[in-house]
């Protein structure tokens, strides 16, 4: 049974949640919309489809302490950082970002489980929101994602005046238990109009033939990487706005009264990513650029039942300073039907 909430009651609904749990939602700060702590004073932006950063930070923050050390002479005291123990709600996640959590789970929850990520997943409730107005940079449909039917613990649809909810888990159901019941059919029209747009998206029919695991070396050795990577600045924009990039670095910081060991997002596009004392195995931007896309389109699927490590959110299309992104790679290297 679905639930519904008049839009005008949304602030009160969110306030209700925030009284017992941390609430994270797309809010505007300094002119940019990102997933951040929601309070009554926040500017909620459910109209914005693509937050600058993806929602992954709720489970895999950009910077996170792992362990603290106290050094005394030759002795060391080790204090592991605490894992999250409090529940939180992540509100307004789109279908693409919701899928990205499943991909991150395959990395962080596979043996050995990452304790920090696992705790956040266990304590988080994901409330998704269908994409009323898909954009030209969206290409989620290529990965079997339906913006009209997002996953998560609780799925939501928004019309002019109403929010509709469908609980997919007990955690999700608990959030909307107090709301009025309604008929499933009430969202059909919204879903249909979303799907009509999804079918018209200019990038909805990318050809991913040729990126299967058994083409690994063929794709790796493709001479066109040279040309594709030319304009790449070697910055981390694509990586850091990407919902599925999950590489991290581990760094020590001497705070003056102890050492904090933290992990932070890292990018295979950076020159020092694989740098060792005696050199690096990816000396130029070509190798680094290739690694990012080979990982998403070939290596990850090869290890994960053929699932690509891209959800088609299109953030990199909007944010790459050089407009040099995954769609270019797919279109250039994908095997043409008639070839």
């Amino acid at each position: 049974m679905m639930k519904k909430l008049p839009l005008e009651q949304l602030p009160a609904f969110l306030k209700g949640i925030s009284e017992t749990k941390t609430l994270v939602a797309p809010v505007e700060k300094g002119g940019q919309v990102n997933f951040d702590l929601w309070t009554e004073d926040s500017t909620l932006r459910l109209d914005v489809l693509k937050t600058v950063k993806s929602a992954k930070g709720a489970f895999f923050p950009q910077v996170e302490d792992i362990v603290h050390f106290q050094m005394q002479g030759k002795n060391i005291d080790i204090h592991p950082a605490e894992v999250l123990t409090e529940d939180f709600v992540l509100f307004g996640v789109r279908a693409c970002d919701a899928r990205s959590f499943e991909l991150l789970d395959r990395v962080f929850l596979s043996d050995p489980t990452d304790p920090f990520y696992a705790a956040r997943r266990a304590h988080g409730t994901v409330v998704t929101l269908a994409c009323n107005r898909p954009e030209e940079t969206c290409f989620c449909t290529n990965f079997g994602i339906d913006g009209a039917d997002p996953a998560g613990d609780l799925s939501a649809w928004m019309t002019e005046d109403t929010l509709y909810f469908q609980a997919n888990t007990e955690k999700g159901a608990a959030l909307v238990a107090g709301l009025a019941d309604c008929d499933d059919g009430e969202i059909t029209e919204t879903q249909n109009s979303i799907r009509e747009i999804l079918n018209k998206l200019p990038l909805s029919n990318l050809n991913l033939t040729g990126f299967e695991g058994d083409h690994l070396k063929e794709r790796f050795d493709d001479p066109r990487w040279e040309e594709l990577s030319r304009g790449c600045l070697g910055c981390g924009t694509c990586t850091f706005v990407c919902p599925t990039c999950q590489c991290y670095d581990v760094k020590d910081f001497d705070s003056g009264n102890g050492i904090r060991r933290f992990r932070c997002w890292d990018s295979c596009m950076f020159s020092d990513f694989t740098l060792m004392a005696h050199g690096t195995n990816r000396p130029t931007q070509k190798e680094r650029f290739r690694q990012r896309f080979m990982h998403k389109l070939v290596y990850f699927p090869s290890n994960n039942d053929g699932i690509y490590s891209c959800v088609g959110c299109g953030r990199c299309l909007e944010k790459c300073p050089q407009s040099n992104h995954i769609v270019n790679v797919i279109k250039t290297l994908g095997v043409k039907e008639d070839a």
């Binding site: 700060k29 300094g30 002119g31 940019q32 990102n34 489809l49 600058v52 950063k53 950009q62 910077v63 107005r133 898909p134 954009e135 030209e136 940079t137 747009i197 018209k200 998206l201 200019p202 990038l203 030319r230 304009g231 600045l233 070697g234 910055c235 981390g236 924009t237 990586t239 850091f240 706005v241 670095d249 760094k251 910081f253 705070s255 904090r260 933290f262 932070c264 997002w265 890292d266 990018s267 950076f270 020159s271 020092d272 740098l275 931007q285 299309l317 909007e318 944010k319 300073p321 050089q322 407009s323 040099n324 992104h325 769609v327 270019n328 279109k331």
Partner: protein, 317 residues
């Protein structure tokens, strides 16, 4: 027109290569590219070619003679890189391309226009076709910020110029700097803390910056002791931008790439512009990249030089 001229150049030297832009997937995608005789047909120059190709040249070192397209503002960066001997002027045939201000796709999206399929220019109006119907917007409303502080229509370095340019500067480009100067130190601190707290440390500003031309950045060098790809705390993050602004002081041409590429919309150029304004005030007007071979005031000395530290103690005048 430009491609025709480039093809003429090929008749004299078929080994020429060309640095320009290539059209991509979205209406706004213009990727810096190097073209040869075979691929020259893909070169594109239009109102979306906002990126500065001067820095791109640094990563494309080759023995081949290169023809590069530079907008008036890009020519300052090119000159500066030649002054610093990072580029060799003689290796390039510079074509100054006309510019009437470049369009910012992000600004169009921010107005709420979504699902953009194509953008057509009709005089001062942009006709925009979207998944949700067609709409229009005045061109001047969505120019890149850097165009609003246009340095003028003159190419400071060009072997030939193709097309007309227009000065798109609106008002006083130091207006926002003046506003920041007028704030109390606490207000100013709060302003920058809010802006810089958005930083995700992607390094796009640094990597796009033509003045950041170090082969190995101190922040990437494990032996520097200050290598930090993500800061341990947000205050450290703020310092990255301030240190960078100081590193490029006197060499920054105010090309605006830092702010254009910032995924979080941080007005980084204001840090540089504040320093430019101070330098101008203390040492007389100076524009980095005006000509090849200039000495900038911070690396020059005259007996008339002011003593800023003595004149402005504690941030006041």
């Amino acid at each position: 027109m430009i491609v025709n001229r480039l093809q003429e150049l090929l008749q004299d030297d078929e080994n020429l290569q060309f640095v320009g832009w290539e059209k991509g997937e979205t209406p706004f995608d213009r990727t810096p590219k190097t073209f040869t005789a075979e691929t020259l047909g893909n070169l594109c120059y239009d109102s979306f070619c906002g990126s500065n190709l001067s820095k791109y040249l640094l990563s494309q070192k080759t023995d081949k003679k290169t023809v590069v397209l530079l907008k008036p503002c890009d020519s300052y960066s090119f000159n500066q890189l030649c002054t610093e001997r990072r580029l060799n002027r003689d290796a390039y045939h510079v074509i100054g391309v006309g510019c009437k201000g470049k369009i910012d796709g992000e600004k169009i999206r921010k107005t709420g226009i979504k699902g953009i399929l194509s953008v057509r220019e009709e005089g001062e109006t942009l006709k925009i076709e979207t998944l949700y119907g067609t709409t229009e917007i005045p061109r001047k409303d969505v120019l890149l910020d850097k165009c609003l502080a246009c340095k003028g229509k003159e190419h400071k370095c060009a072997d030939e110029v193709l097309g007309e340019s227009e000065d798109t500067c609106v008002g006083d480009k130091y207006e926002t700097v003046a506003k920041l100067e007028a704030m109390t130190p606490d207000e100013r601190f709060a302003f920058w803390r809010e802006e810089l707290s958005k930083c995700i440390r992607c390094n796009a500003c640094r990597n796009a910056c033509p003045a950041c031309s170090c082969i190995k950045c101190v922040f990437d060098n494990p032996n520097s002791g200050v290598q930090n790809k993500a800061a341990a705390d947000d205050f450290e993050e703020n310092l990255f931008h301030i240190i960078r602004a100081y590193h490029v002081a006197g060499r920054c041409t105010d090309c605006g790439e830092c702010s254009r590429v910032c995924p979080q919309g941080i007005p980084l150029h204001l840090l540089n512009r504040k320093i430019i304004r101070d330098v101008n005030e203390f040492y007389g007007d100076y524009q980095a990249g005006d000509a090849i071979g200039q000495r900038h005031p911070l690396t020059d000395f005259t007996f008339e030089d002011s003593e800023p530290n003595a004149e402005r103690k504690g941030g006041g005048k």
